[in-house]
């Protein structure tokens, strides 16, 4: 396999929990607990898991918006975590992010033109004001808005339109990778499809790679080449989309899939209800993180040793003692 565009290994992020009068560190949130994957150029990798399992933290660590506790992130072979100053600024042109909340992700006191134009300003991608405006106008058209929207403020737009503005801002620096952190979760179902179609068109047009984060499998099914399933800070299964949906191996993936409605009503899928709640990431369960809720857990094995990540069939990886 050629060198992947993005390669993540053993990524760990722990947040300190402070307490008491002295605000000492009393505990840690194991938000990301040894995540690893590769992303090829032009590929879309879906990252799926219940809310709070560490998806956003993974994305932010890759972009160095927060500093990972340990682990390795390589972009085109360069160690992202070791970059400083100008090199870090330069790599920010290659990796961008689109956020979940279309209301919080745009500065309410800036016009759409200056929000999108700021990227051009920071990286000096336009020499004159006129050139900048022309580029902003082009970006607005690219995402399906009108050039005259430039002089408006974010609150004048609907959620879907705001999300398009966020996409235009990310596109302004011509990135190679965009981390889409639940870009449609906050939108109406009817608008979700429009935004996903836009992302797919842009991918084709600009050869983008996506890390597409979502909290349910149905959203990523369509857009992803491969899907990674995450549970409590760890990836439990990675497979090409079709394989994962046709033949899930990990019991957690099975449970997630059973909640996805199937278009064909003659096919009945048994809904698997997981017992209990997600354990707190402050003290995740021993061994396999999933053993407290797993229907096929084996005492003395699953609660003792964490399963290895193994390739069950070609390209289909799973971390479970009893499957694969």
């Amino acid at each position: 396999m050629a060198q992947p565009l993005l390669s993540v290994r053993n990524l760990v992020k722990r947040f300190p929990v402070r307490g008491g009068v002295l605000r000492r560190v009393v505990d840690q949130v194991h938000a990301v607990d040894g995540v690893g994957f590769d992303l090829a150029s032009g590929e879309t990798l879906g990252l799926v898991g219940e809310s709070g399992c560490g998806k956003s933290t993974t994305g932010r660590c890759i972009l160095r918006l927060i500093e990972p506790t340990s682990g390795e992130v390589r972009f085109e072979g360069r160690d992202v975590c070791a970059l400083t100053g100008n090199e870090l600024a330069a790599i920010r042109r290659d990796m961008q992010i689109i956020f979940q909340d279309p209301f919080a992700s745009l500065n309410p006191r800036m016009t759409v033109g200056s929000i999108i134009g700021e990227a051009l300003e920071i990286h000096r991608l336009a020499k004159t004001r006129r050139e900048r405006e022309a580029k902003v106008a082009e970006l607005l058209e690219t995402v399906g808005l009108r050039p005259d929207h430039m002089s408006r403020f974010p609150h004048e737009f609907s959620g879907g339109q705001r999300q398009r503005i966020g996409i235009a801002r990310a596109l302004a620096v011509s990135p190679k990778l965009i981390i889409c952190d639940e870009p449609v979760s906050a939108l109406d179902v009817s608008i979700q499809a429009q935004v996903i179609n836009l992302l797919e068109d842009l991918q084709e047009k600009f050869g983008l790679s996506y890390l597409f984060i979502a909290h349910d499998l149905s959203v990523v099914e369509h857009i992803s080449d491969r899907v990674a399933v995450m549970y409590l800070g760890r990836i439990v299964e990675v497979a090409p989309s079709r394989d994962l949906y046709a033949q899930p191996l990990h019991p957690y993936t099975e449970a997630l899939l059973s909640a996805v409605p199937i278009p064909d009503p003659t096919l009945k899928r048994e809904r698997i209800r997981l017992q209990g709640d997600i354990p707190s990431p402050m003290n995740p369960p021993s061994g396999c993180h999933f053993h407290t809720r797993c229907p096929i857990a084996e005492k003395g094995l699953c609660d003792v040793a964490a399963p290895d990540f193994r390739e069950a069939t070609s390209g289909h990886w799973v971390a479970c003692h009893k499957r694969g």
Partner: protein, 311 residues
């Protein structure tokens, strides 16, 4: 070039929305607060009066006339006269300039120091934040009046010799009053910085490679200023009262500079037989402070996006 994306279908909804910027929107909400609007008019009249009043009412502030001592309001002296027969209206108009100037200037000092301390604490976090907040709490817990008196007592002479009496006292009073009123602003700004720092639009700017300075100037500070403007109005009122207090204690401006507080100080021994002397400058202070506070209320509504006032 938009490919398969229907550009017009999505764009049309935005066109119906009214074209307003965030400041215009704030003004629209401010106007709904009737008391604040009335107060704004009153304050504007007061400011205008002290600015152009002395040109229209050309009676000198220090023309002594023993034949007209302690007279009540009349056509010749609409606010009456003091014990030297000086015209109180002229003195109120002239003194108002200084009282209001002290209020605004001290507010600027307070806002400048408060924003600086709050922004540094909010951006730096950790030890620097802890140190600055300790300093803020210290200033809040100090007994202000005795310290004011002490500082004035210590520095008044020296400064007065360098820049002249009137200007010296002005600078001293502004710095002292401002220097004791920045703490609320610092706390507000720090709290705003802490919450804004985590906002996604700030993260988006960081992901684009924005420098710290750009983050603060373009993204965080403009969004933190709403509550600061509210605090600023309260600081003006506090400064006017503080100046009056100092002058009332005889520690502010010299007797020939008739600030509103100084006028009250001079009037206090004659309350029984010349109440008008205290009444007019007192009413000025009262009106100014009250209207500024109402304006502050209106601004709070205008800048708080969670508060939706029925239209």
């Amino acid at each position: 070039m938009a490919g398969s994306i229907p550009a017009s279908a999505t764009a049309s909804t935005g066109a119906a929305a009214p074209r307003v910027g965030p400041w215009r929107e704030a003004w629209r909400r401010f106007r709904k607060h009737r008391l604040a609007v009335v107060s704004l008019v009153i304050l504007s009249v007061l400011v205008l009066a002290v600015l152009v009043g002395p040109f229209a009412w050309q009676v000198p502030i220090d023309e002594i006339d023993f034949t007209a001592r302690l007279q009540g309001p009349s056509w010749a002296h609409p606010m009456g006269t003091d014990d030297l027969g000086q015209d109180i209206l002229a003195r109120v108009l002239y003194g108002g300039r200084i009282s209001l100037a002290v209020g605004f200037a001290a507010m600027m000092v307070a806002i400048f120091v408060g924003v600086l301390v709050g922004a540094v604490a909010g951006m730096a976090g950790g030890r620097i934040d802890a140190g600055l907040m300790w300093l803020t709490d210290l200033f809040l817990s100090l007994p202000q009046l005795p310290l004011l008196l002490l500082i004035i007592y210590l520095f008044r002479e020296g400064l007065t010799q360098v820049v002249g009496q009137e200007l010296g006292v002005f600078i001293l009073i502004v710095i002292i009053i401002g220097g004791f009123n920045w703490m609320q602003v610092a706390r507000l700004v720090r709290a705003q910085f802490f919450s804004l720092r985590e906002k996604e639009f700030v993260e988006a700017a960081r992901a684009l490679g924005a420098s710290r300075l750009r983050l603060v100037v373009r993204h965080i500070l403009p969004n933190a200023l709403g509550p600061v403007i509210v605090a600023a109005t309260i600081d003006i009122a506090a400064a006017i009262i503080a100046e009056s207090t100092l002058s009332f204690l005889g520690l502010g401006f010299p007797p020939d500079v008739p600030t509103w507080g100084r006028l009250l100080f001079d009037a206090k021994d004659n309350l029984d037989f010349a109440p008008h002397w205290a009444l007019f400058p007192g009413a000025m202070i009262f009106l100014t402070v009250l209207s500024i506070n109402f304006i502050g209320d209106g601004l709070r509504d205008a800048f708080d996006p969670r508060r939706v006032i029925a239209s």
